[in-house]
Symmetry: C2
DNA sequence: GCGATCCGGTGTAGTAATGCAGTTATTGCA
DNA sequence: TGCAATAACTGCATTACTACACCGGATCGC
């Protein structure tokens, strides 16, 4: 926005921004499905839990970059919604291990499968030979982009 | 996530998800720059205001899918932060017209230019001939994806 | 064994987002 | 002219996120 619409010094960047918008719109749409069940921070927590099961609250706090007390309250709400389970550790009785409940897992799965479905639909609109070229191009792009794994799920946009 | 890592029925979709993640990470990083100045809902409001200047609070509420009173309070906060200006309409004295202040415009600009910078950096890591192929592939993809302009800035992910 | 450390949780508090209901001012229509 | 409709705003209430300070239990190192 508010970029000079004419003179485009870098067509690849412009096209990437457009692609970005489309991909984020798809992600947002998939997230909208569960918007009435969890907030965005809560969904982020679920995603973290889904990717690395058996996390302690303090690990979750670390992953989400919030204070431990915030993680505790968040877990309170997620447990109340029966999306997360608290299990007392056997080895260290100070510790609590967090686990996605079946419902929690289903919720995250619903979002990701909705996303995949939408993406597949887009891919389906592309001619077979163009798909091949797209695949090659994406490999190259992912290679180039993948070198910055930093805050992969920073902010509220874990998607 | 939590997809069976092996059997990949659709390489293009998988690659798109990976690319999605990279692009969203870049968007999130650009947003992180202003995270201490505005909240995500507030930033969404600024983006709407940047794209369609001279909006009334009720139009903003409509664009953000919130109630008018919510829009009013949001504007209160943005005005207090001197990112938005309220101007009383001449034609209809009931109406208020919202405008981005120079600071507000600068804030949005900062985010978008950071995003462009990061994308350019990724593109710069790609060999010239691969860039050409990427450009072609992105055109095809954007064509296929662009047919769903729906809630372009749904949720908190306006980017 | 004992103090330091660590973990989870609670008390407290502030900001934000959000909506419903109701108010005020203004406009438009009959 | 007068009443319905409209725009913005305010009062009120709820939920969430967030952190700081603190507590109590558990573990670890010496």
């Amino acid at each position: 926005m508010q970029r000079i619409p004419g003179a485009s010094p870098d067509p690849a960047t412009d096209l990437l921004i457009t692609a970005s918008r489309a991909l984020v719109a798809i992600a947002a749409k998939s997230l909208a499905r569960v918007e009435d069940q969890v907030t965005l921070p809560q969904y982020r927590a679920l995603v973290v839990l889904a990717s690395r099961d058996r996390l302690r609250p303090i690990d979750l706090a670390d992953a989400l970059d919030v204070s431990p007390s915030t993680a505790t309250r968040m877990c309170d709400r997620l447990v109340r919604k029966e999306l997360v389970e608290r299990v007392h550790s056997d080895s260290d009785r100070r510790e609590v291990v967090l686990r996605l409940s079946p419902d929690g897992r289903a919720l995250v799965g619903e979002v990701t499968s909705a996303r995949r479905r939408d993406l597949r639909r887009v891919v389906g609109r592309i001619a077979a030979e163009d798909q091949k070229r797209l695949i090659e191009a994406l490999r190259v792009f992912n290679d180039a982009a993948g070198e910055a794994p930093e805050s992969t799920l920073a902010l509220g946009m874990s998607l």
